[in-house]
């Protein structure tokens, strides 16, 4: 995990990443892990919880862990953090034009209804100045086919008035996920990428699966996930297990396509 912060060098558009996708695609888990990952590599990271449609399991629940790691977290303040009200704090606007060396992540709610909130920022966002990544979980009922994912993408693009610029494959069944689930999800997301003409930017997988040789052999950048959105009966020990660093980690900047997500541990050279 050793890395020089300057080696990360995100492209300008990658300083603002909004994560959208269907309910249960794992946007929040990806957003929180991406924030912590980039922070661990020396970037200034700020994240806003824009999930206005989900009452539980929102990234505000990982606020403590993220703030402890030095990530700036923008969520409704006080008891409103528990509300199911469409609250967007004014600080969110400040995240839309991050300074060099800073990455802003927007964790947006599910489906087209959840992403509608982005349309209010449309006037502030120039084409090419943002990344809008659709997180795809191939094991969800409405995103199990290419057609389903494309329909979801169209609905999200229409509701947000923004263009989807990348895909994140995050096929999972929570703890029941195995490497086959991850690989089948990547195959589906590649097909979606081909059909939509947008790149597959990232594959996300639980730590234990990221270590699987077949997953590790994937050419796409890989984000190791540590589950943060846990139901109350699951122990954080599982986190510790997932978080164990892989021995094959390559320093940031070595991999050619790993500007933003540098932990591409199996891409030797």
């Amino acid at each position: 995990m050793s890395s020089a912060p300057e080696a990360v060098a995100p492209r300008p558009a990658e300083r603002l990443i909004a994560l959208v996708g269907g309910y249960g695609s794992g946007k929040t888990e990806v957003a929180v892990n991406l924030a912590l990952h980039l922070r661990a590599h020396g970037l200034v990271v700020q994240i806003a919880d824009l999930d206005l449609v989900n009452p539980y399991f929102r990234c505000r629940e990982a606020r403590e862990a993220m703030e402890a790691a030095g990530v700036r977290v923008v969520v409704p303040e006080g008891p409103l953090v528990y509300a199911d009200l469409p609250i967007v704090t004014p600080q969110v606007a400040g995240l839309l034009a991050p300074a060099p060396g800073t990455v802003s992540i927007l964790d947006v709610g599910g489906d087209d209804v959840g992403s509608r909130v982005l349309s209010s920022f449309r006037p502030l966002l120039r084409e090419g100045a943002y990344e809008l990544w659709q997180v795809v979980n191939a094991r969800r009922p409405f995103s199990a086919t290419v057609g389903g994912c494309l329909a979801q993408a169209d609905a999200i693009a229409a509701a947000s008035r923004l263009r989807i610029t990348g895909l994140v494959s995050n096929a999972h069944l929570l703890d029941a996920t195995d490497a086959d689930v991850v690989l089948e999800g990547v195959a589906l997301t590649r097909a979606v990428a081909l059909a939509a003409g947008i790149p597959l930017r990232l594959v996300a997988a639980l730590g234990r699966l990221a270590d699987d040789p077949r997953v590790a052999a994937l050419p796409e950048p890989l984000l190791r996930l540590e589950r943060r959105m846990l139901p109350p009966w699951l122990r954080p020990e599982t986190r510790a297990r997932c978080a164990a660093p892989a021995p094959r980690t390559v320093p940031v900047g070595v991999a050619t396509h790993a500007r933003l997500v540098p932990e591409v541990h199996r891409r030797h050279g």
């Binding site: 528990y82 929570l174 109350p232």
Partner: protein, 359 residues
């Protein structure tokens, strides 16, 4: 069967469709809104009806009307909305009509909050509205079990011509878990023929759906008939689960729904330390599994206590006391407001209970 990842609320909706439910009437409220949200899309695929009513009061009476003409139907809500449905529940039970009502419990009283709770236990098991009536209440503790119990709920509603409530806490509705559905075309069986539903008469005897009995003798007879039905339900429809562990136990933990899962973690960890707790989980809250719990209580080694754990200030514990009939010391641990206890909180209570048992 392929495992897919579903939110509890969506899975409940899908399970209802697969049980043959084709009519839904409801009103949005957190944390159950994904049920209507899912069904508005899904019922259109099977030629069903989705109505967003103007209130929960309207919704439950639409259920009564639909049920009265013999179609499989349901509604869903969360705590404050269920309170509004109380009147309709009494009428539906009085008229002996089958229907399913889902309560995705949130923290109360009043508007309370939107986080999970189990504080509608008394409301669910002691009647919602007025009069001597009972509703079968099923409490899932996982998304898969919610799916399975949803199918059972429709079956029991029609077998007993009675409302059945699936009573879960918001955590079950909001969390995602992998689920499997039985193979099939995704459509449930049609409602079997019956001799009570209203419709075109076609020469048969007139049928009446009614809850008004002005004659006291007739109303008494109606109440006796209902009571006989509830007794039969209590005798045959109890459901529960006991994990006694190996080689006896010194304390019995009783919990349902999400709370049972947290207790499960605590019990497993304490067993790994060599302690001997057992876990009893009521699945049917009404009828409450009194005989099964009593047998489990009688099997506690020595004079060990029973510990009821709930996300309420103490409701199911009353039924634990009724089962114990004074034979065991009954302890209680509970929280409210949407604060969900951790396995550590529960483990500390179990340790304390075990310490008390030794002393």
């Amino acid at each position: 069967m392929t495992k897919i990842l579903m939110k509890g609320n969506e899975a409940l909706g899908e399970a209802a469709v697969r049980a043959g439910c084709v009519h839904f009437f409801g009103y949005p409220i957190t944390p159950q809104t994904e049920i209507p949200e899912y069904l508005v899309k899904r019922l259109a695929q099977v030629g069903g009806t989705f109505v967003q009513a103007e209130s929960e009061i309207a919704a439950i009476h639409m259920v009564m009307g639909a049920s009265g003409v013999g179609v499989r139907c349901m509604t869903s809500s969360s705590s404050p909305g269920i309170s509004l449905m109380a009147e309709g529940m009494s009428y539906i039970a009085a008229c002996e009509l089958p229907c399913v009502v889902v309560n995705m419990m949130r923290a109360g009283p009043g508007l309370g909050g939107i986080l999970p709770a189990q504080s509608d236990y008394h409301q669910a098991t002691r009647g919602h509205g007025h009069g001597d009536y009972q509703v079968i209440v099923l409490a899932p503790s996982s998304v898969q079990e919610a799916v399975d119990l949803m199918g059972l709920a429709f079956e029991l509603a029609e077998r007993w011509r009675n409302p059945v409530m699936v009573c879960a806490d918001g955590m079950i509705g909001q969390m995602m878990e992998p689920v499997e559905f039985a193979d099939g075309d995704g459509r449930g069986p049609p409602m079997p023929p019956n001799d009570w539903a209203l419709g075109v008469r076609e020469g048969r005897r007139r049928r009446i759906v009614n809850s008004l009995y002005l004659s006291p003798e007739e109303l008494l007879a109606h109440n006796r008939k209902l009571k006989a039905k509830y007794d039969a339900i209590a005798a045959t429809e109890r459901r529960s689960e006991l994990d006694a562990g190996a080689g006896g136990y010194d304390v019995l933990v009783v919990a349902f729904g999400t709370m049972a899962r947290i207790c499960r973690t605590a019990v497993d960890e304490l067993r790994a330390e060599g302690l001997r707790p057992a876990l009893f989980r009521p699945i049917s809250l009404k009828p409450f599994p009194y005989p099964e719990l009593r047998r489990a209580l009688d099997a506690i080694d020595g004079d060990g206590p029973v510990l009821a754990v709930e996300m309420s200030m103490g409701q199911m514990v009353d039924d634990v006391r009724l089962a114990a009939e004074g034979t065991r010391r009954v302890l209680f641990h509970g929280t409210a407001g949407g604060v969900v206890p951790s396995p550590d909180d529960v483990a500390a209570e179990i340790r304390a209970a075990l310490g008390a048992a030794v002393a």
